[in-house]
Every structure is written in structure tokens, then in C-alpha cells.
Amino acid sequence: MLNFILKRLVQSAIVMLVVALLSFFLFNFVGDPISNMVGQESTTKDMEELRDQLGLNDPFIVQFGRFVVNAVQGDFGISYRLQRPVEDVVAERMPATLELVFVSAIIAILLGVAGGLFTGLKKKHWFSKVILTGSLVGVSLPTFVIGILLIYVFAVKFQILPSFGRGEVVTLDSGWTTGLLTLSGWKAIILPSITLALYQTTLILRIIRSEMLEVMRADFIKFARARGLRQRDINFGHALKNTLIPVITVAGLQIGSLIAFSIITETVFQWPGMGSLFIQAVQFADVPVMSAYLVMVAFFFVMINLIVDLLYFVVDPRLRVEVRG
């Protein structure tokens, strides 16, 4: 057990290093931040001086070394665009993204589980077919198309929901900002969270459905039937319980995907989270912010994965045996 956890931790550390190297390597070549930092009226000499100041003329390996040493201490340098410490900017943007991801995850899990159960249990029901076909349409619509469509219908045509932003935001004592304590905040999160949740909903729905179909064929269900248990008890007592384990793990991984896909949703809805911060940083060649974002996201993924691995370990006795052997 300890061995297993240790192994996983070492692996996670390696992943983080690789991602750090990648993100640093990647963004060291994107555009030239200097021309954005100075106005149209600056001279070439000014720009050269600024480049020196920022250490952009140092050899690659020196720049990377500096980056890793600082990153480990939580210091990602100063954003070229915002002229503020990157870790402050990221910390400020994180609540918006996490709230969006949180609400989307709930929507995806609720709808996905309900739809998956229904289609899994009532395989032949006409509504199951509607849901399944509908879910296919859901995976076939690119996120950005859904977002634009929703804005057009609900914000422009009917004018019942806002088209951008987080609405009224409350700052808690800790500095965490939340839109979930105001009415306008809730209104603002509806469209983006639906947009973001749609794809994951269909994924979860399909996984639950196939797990259900699988489980319903399993021997213990047949025995339960043979024992004369009520169908409802079988469905929810035996079958659902047995499908939940893979679903929980998959849902965990999907939260990671939600963070990545929020880049697109946040761009369309001007949601002030890390995703839109990242895209703006890409356009501005704001290297410190881009690197920090990727390292942060990788960190989330690695953490989620670690937790999921441990969950597997806890819930699936077979794995324990294999690891020992």
C-alpha cells in the first residue's frame, strides 16, 4: 500500500517536471512580448533594454532553471501584461473557473446519471432512444457553437439571461470571490455551465448506461431476481451500487476535462476565469502566465488522478492483490 502510494507520488512528480519543461519550452517561442509591452512610439533601443531587463537574452537553460526554482516556491514571476505577480493573478481567477467547473460537474453528474439509469434500465423505451440520439447530438455540437447559440437565443432574442461575465460577485474574507451568493451571479452562471456541462453529461450518461446493461446481465442480479427481490430494489440496491464505482472515477477525470474545456467556454462568455486568462496570455505572449497556467492545470490533473487511483485502490480489492503480486 505504502509502496503503491510512493510509486504514484514519484510518477506525479515526474509528470509535473515534464509539464513544466514543456510549458516553458513551448511558450518561450510564442511571439515577442516586448512589442506588446511598449507602445507604438518606443524606440528599438528601449525594447532592447527591456528585453535585457527581463532576462530574455539569457541562454535557454538559464531561463528554465530560474523558472523551475521559482515555480517550486510558488513564484511565477510578474505578468508582462498585467504587471502583477502571476500567482496573485491566477489565485484571483481561480474561483471563477472552479465555480463554473463545480456547477457544470453537478449538472453533468445529475443529468448524466439520471439519463444513464433510465436508458440502461428501460432499454427499449422510446424515450431512451430519444435521449440516446439527443446525447449523440450533444457530442456532435462543438462547445463554441453551443455557446454562441445560447447567447443568441437567451441573451439577445429573449433577453432573460446575461451574455457575459459573472454578475454580482461577493468577496469573502479569504479573498475568494463567489457569484453563488447573488441572484445575478446565479443567472450569469446558467448559460456557461450548461455549455460546459453538455459534453460531459453525454459521456457520463453513456458510461452509466453501458455499465447498467453490463451489470443487469451479471449473475448476482439474476440470483437476486431468482430470490424474488422487487425489481426496484434490484435496480437501485444492487445494480446502481455496482455501477457507481467506475462512474465516480470517470466523473473525477471528467472534472479535469472540464477545466481544460473551460478555455473555450470562458472565451465565448467572457467568464473571468483561468481559461480566458490563458487565452489572453497566449495572444499577448505573456509567458509567465501561460507557463503558470499549464503547470497549475497539470497539477490539478495529477492530483485528481492520484485521488482516483487511491479510490480504485480502496474500492477494488482485486487491484490490491495485483499490486502486492
Binding site: G31, D32, P33, I34, S35, N36, M37, V38, G39, Q40, S42, T43, D46, Q53, L54, V72, Q73, G74, I78, Y80, R81, L82, Q83, P85, E87, D88, V89, A91, M94, P95, Y152, A155, V156, Q159, P162, S163, F164, G165, E168, V170, L172, D173, S174, G175, W176, T178, L181, T182, L183, S184, T267, F269, Q270, P272, S276, L277, I279, Q283, A285, M296
Partner: protein, 529 residues
């Protein structure tokens, strides 16, 4: 990582624990909700010479000299000025003015602010580098001494905002942000000016809230009824228009021009327009011995003025105006625009006509009857429909046999090609904040000029450009300016396309004078209720 995760952990716990009451929004009487494509990177008035920073700062900071909406210079924090001798200017300062924190404004603040703008880390040096000495005569009188006669000093001072010396010292911001430091300076997100609005809150990229300064010296003179300004930048074009159409914002200063008709179709909205101080043009590298990306080897076709004329004749600027600019541009025959000193309407009127046959003939004369290939470098997020203009030019030039490879990219990647002067053929836009041709010469025409990617220039022209920097006699100066332009018009290092126009889309009950420099000033706005 440590620092960040700790912050997160704390934040996460508190989210669960604290139950803050539902916030009741305090509704100010007249709230102007404003959006534009991008936010200012800093509020420090001397750190960055960028339009967005100047736009937000001008609401909160005042300069010695201001412009009215028609761009005429009017008294700001200086009530009067006088040219004592060619190199000395005396300014009488406005009395009884206080900064937002209550500190009085006086000559010491002027001296401090000019010095700050001259600091190494300032990007406003270009506006104040002729000032060699500032003398304090008394608390409300200062004299500026320049190294040589500077005819445009007042125009330059419009952009230099006055900061409180005590406040700056108190918060350690005596000099603008140094990018080398890993901490932000206080002035990046805090302001203390004498201006019409005070900063209430600021979340960069998200929301900036300004409130009316009841103690502003201009409240009597420039009456406005804006109590609060809420500025939320929206990057995505479609979302920005959607926000206006759905009534979530009152003012958009950069609506995509193709959406203007849709906006006008809404009964609650209107669009104001004016000519912008920016002209769009193509440029040619007229000096290189061989182009970097071309089928022509060993020589540079753009060295031949006939080729430049051929390109000029090949571009159908009216079609660009109609289809791409939706009629919302003014075809140009020179690269500066009407309000700028040195502009002449006849040059705009006499632009070379669209004539593909003549273009082909000129190419043949120049020795390229079969045309040639060349790369066009073009920004895709800088000017109105920049990429579409370039695409249209590609197909127009294809019709005279010139095969153009379009290299359209974000301004981040594009501008280094211009400032590095490593482009053969490019699209550029230029504005003149000082309202004088000298600015355009200094940046685009002088052979040493930093943005002269055309590598244009002759020793004679350089001499003239240097000469006008110190000539105070207006007529003499204007005569030389005209000489320079005449030469440029004949040589065609730049192929003028059109003067851009500015459109501000707003709700019908908002009145705000539109300004050619594209900076809304909220103290000239009012809601009619």
C-alpha cells in the same frame, strides 16, 4: 507552488464556512456601463504609452493641457501658458485643486510628475525628453526650459498626467513599474489624481468601477450627471455586441463595423461616428537589394517606383470600402488624416485610380510582364477588418499577375516584423497623437525612424525632418512639411488605403461626444432621463 496552494487552501475552506449575506446592489443614480475589447495593463500613468491606459487614466488624472472633444487645446491643470522665449514656457497652475486623497495640487507635483515621466522606466519619455529644466517660480507658477525650441510641447503635455508627489512617496511609486521587479507597484492598481472620477474598485480584465469626484475642479464648467462608471472589457466580438443588444451595457467604443446595422436596427440604440486619427496603408521595402520572400532573385522589384504605382492602380479601394468596410471608411491618398497639421485634401482626392490594365502595363514596363510573387505581412487583430483587407488585396493583386502569399498573424507576432524592419510588404495603420505631421515623419519617413519598415528616406528628407523639429515660425515650418509630403507622395513608399472611422454604439439616452482619438471621456457624458 507552495505560496499558491496555501492561498487556495485557505480560500477553499472559507468558501464552505462563511455564509456571506446576499449582497444588495447599491444602485447609484446614473451608472454608465461601458465595454471595450481590452483592459488596460496598468493604471500607472507614466508606465505605458498605450491608448487603453491613457483612456482610463484620463478619467482620473488631469494633465496641464487638455483637449476639447474637437481636439482643440484648452486649459487643464494649467489655466494659462506663455512662451517667454523660444526655449522657455511659463505655466500658471489652477489653484485650490486637490487630489482624490485630499492633498493639494501645486508646482511641486508638476515638477515631480514631469520628472517621473522622464524616468528610465517610463514610456512617456518621448513626450517630455526635450524638457531640460523645470523651475518653480511660486506654488502656482512653473517654467519649463527645453533644449531647443519645441513647437509641439503643448501637444505633448496633453498626455502627461499629474500625480501627487506625497502620495507617490508614501507608496513607493516615485518611478513607474520596473518589469524586472517581481512585485507590482502600488500605482498599477491604485490611482490618486485630480480628475473627474475616483477609482472605486479594480479587477484587471474583469471590472473597473469609477465614481464621480464631487470635488473635481471642472464640475462647474463641464457639467455631467454620471455618478458611476462600470467598465467590463469583453474580448469576444460577438459577445460584446450581444451585451449591447441585450441592454447589459450602455456604451461600446469598438463594435465590429459589420454589426452596426444590426445595432441601428434596435430601437434603444444609436451609433455615433467620426473620422479617426488613423490611416491604413500598405508599405513596401524600397531599399533591400533582394526581397526576403519573392520569386524575384537578385533584385528588389519594389525599388522601382513603377511597381509601386502598379500596386496602387491594382487596389480597388472603393470595393474594399463597400464590401469590407461596409461603407464606413474614407479612401485615402495620403497617410495622415484631416485634423493633422500638414494634411491636404487634394492629396486624398488625387489618389491613383483603380485601373488593372494600367497596373499590368506598368508592371510590364518595369520588366515583370508575368508578374512575380511576394509575401504580405498583415496583422489580424489590430485594425478594423485588417485581415479581410489583406485577403481582398491578395485577390486584387492576383488579377495583375502578382501572386501574394498572405501572412496574417496576431499583432504580437506582427509588430516585431515592423520594428525589426524585416518585412517586404506589409499593412500598417498610423495615428498622430500630437496632431502634427512631424510625428509621422519622425516615426515613418526619417531614414532612421523606428517604424520605417519601408526603409524609405533620403539625406535631404532627413535634413528637412530634423529642421522642422526646432522651427517655431509656423509658416516656414508648414512650408517644409508640405515639401516633405510632396516628395513622399511622389515616391509612394506607402500605399494609402483609407482613413478609419470611429463608431461608438450606445443606448439612446446616453449622450457622449465622440472623439477622433477614440477615447471616451465620461465627464462629458450625460444620461437624458
Amino acid at each position: 507552488m507552495l505560496k499558491l496552494t496555501r492561498k487556495l487552501a485557505v480560500a477553499g475552506f472559507v468558501l464552505g464556512a462563511a455564509a456571506a449575506p446576499f449582497a444588495a446592489p447599491v444602485q447609484a443614480e446614473n451608472v454608465l456601463r461601458y465595454t471595450s475589447v481590452s483592459d488596460a495593463s496598468t493604471l500607472d500613468p507614466h508606465a505605458l504609452n498605450a491608448l487603453v491606459t491613457l483612456m482610463i487614466d484620463i478619467q482620473m488624472y488631469d494633465a496641464l493641457v487638455m483637449r476639447d472633444p474637437g481636439m482643440v487645446k484648452i486649459p487643464g491643470l494649467a489655466v494659462s501658458w506663455e512662451n517667454l522665449d523660444p526655449n522657455t514656457w511659463e505655466f500658471k497652475l489652477r489653484e485650490g485643486v486637490t487630489f482624490h486623497n485630499g492633498n493639494p495640487f501645486n508646482a511641486d507635483d508638476v515638477i515631480f510628475s514631469i520628472k517621473r515621466a522622464q524616468a528610465d522606466t517610463s514610456q512617456m519619455q518621448g513626450y517630455v525628453n526635450t524638457i531640460t529644466e523645470i523651475r518653480k517660480i511660486d506654488d502656482y507658477t512653473v517654467q519649463f526650459v527645453t533644449d531647443k525650441p519645441n513647437p509641439i510641447l503643448l501637444d505633448q503635455l496633453v498626455n502627461i498626467f499629474m500625480m501627487d508627489a506625497e502620495w507617490a512617496k508614501e507608496h513607493g511609486v516615485e518611478a513607474p513599474q520596473n518589469f524586472k521587479d517581481s512585485q507590482e507597484t502600488y500605482a498599477v492598481r491604485h490611482t490618486n489624481g485630480t480628475g473627474a472620477f475616483k477609482l472605486e474598485s479594480r479587477e484587471p480584465d474583469v471590472k473597473t468601477v469609477l465614481v464621480r469626484n464631487e470635488n473635481w475642479w471642472g464640475n462647474e464648467e463641464y457639467k455631467h450627471n454620471i455618478d458611476k462608471v462600470v467598465w467590463t472589457p469583453i474580448t469576444n466580438d460577438a459577445t460584446r455586441v450581444a451585451a449591447l443588444l441585450s441592454g447589459e451595457v450602455d456604451l461600446v467604443t469598438d463594435p465590429p463595423i459589420q454589426d452596426l446595422n444590426r445595432i441601428l436596427g434596435s430601437s434603444n440604440l444609436k451609433v455615433e461616428q467620426t473620422a479617426q486619427m488613423r490611416t491604413i496603408f500598405f508599405g513596401f521595402d524600397v531599399k533591400a537589394d533582394e526581397l526576403r520572400h519573392s520569386s524575384v532573385k537578385g533584385k528588389n522589384p519594389f525599388k522601382d517606383v513603377k511597381v509601386r504605382q502598379a500596386f496602387y492602380h491594382a487596389i480597388d479601394v472603393e470595393a474594399i470600402k463597400r464590401a469590407i468596410m461596409r461603407g464606413m471608411s474614407v479612401p485615402a491618398g495620403m497617410i495622415i488624416e484631416p485634423p493633422i497639421n500638414g494634411y491636404k485634401a487634394e492629396w486624398d482626392e488625387n489618389r491613383l485610380p483603380f485601373d488593372p490594365e494600367k497596373a499590368k502595363a506598368l508592371l510590364a514596363e518595369a520588366g515583370y510582364p508575368e508578374g512575380f510573387s511576394v509575401q504580405l505581412d498583415c496583422p489580424n487583430n489590430r485594425y478594423q477588418n485588417d485581415e479581410a483587407i489583406c485577403q481582398a488585396a491578395v485577390s486584387m493583386l492576383a488579377k495583375i499577375g502578382v501572386e501574394v502569399r498572405l501572412n496574417a498573424q496576431p499583432k504580437t507576432q506582427f509588430f516585431p516584423l515592423i520594428t525589426g524592419k524585416t518585412t517586404d510588404f506589409f499593412l500598417l495603420g498610423w495615428g498622430v497623437p500630437t496632431m502634427d505631421s512631424g510625428f509621422a515623419f519622425d516615426y515613418l519617413v526619417h531614414s532612421e525612424a523606428s517604424w520605417n519598415a519601408a526603409h524609405y528616406g533620403t539625406p535631404e528628407l532627413d535634413a528637412k525632418i530634423e529642421a522642422i523639429r526646432g522651427i517655431v515660425d509656423v509658416e516656414e515650418r508648414n512650408r517644409i512639411i508640405e515639401e516633405i509630403w510632396t516628395q513622399v507622395q511622389a515616391d509612394i513608399p506607402y500605399l494609402p488605403l483609407h482613413h478609419q472611422m470611429i463608431f461608438w454604439a450606445m443606448s439612446k439616452n446616453l449622450n457622449i461626444p465622440i472623439e477622433p482619438n477614440d477615447m471616451p471621456r465620461f465627464y462629458w457624458a450625460s444620461f437624458s432621463n
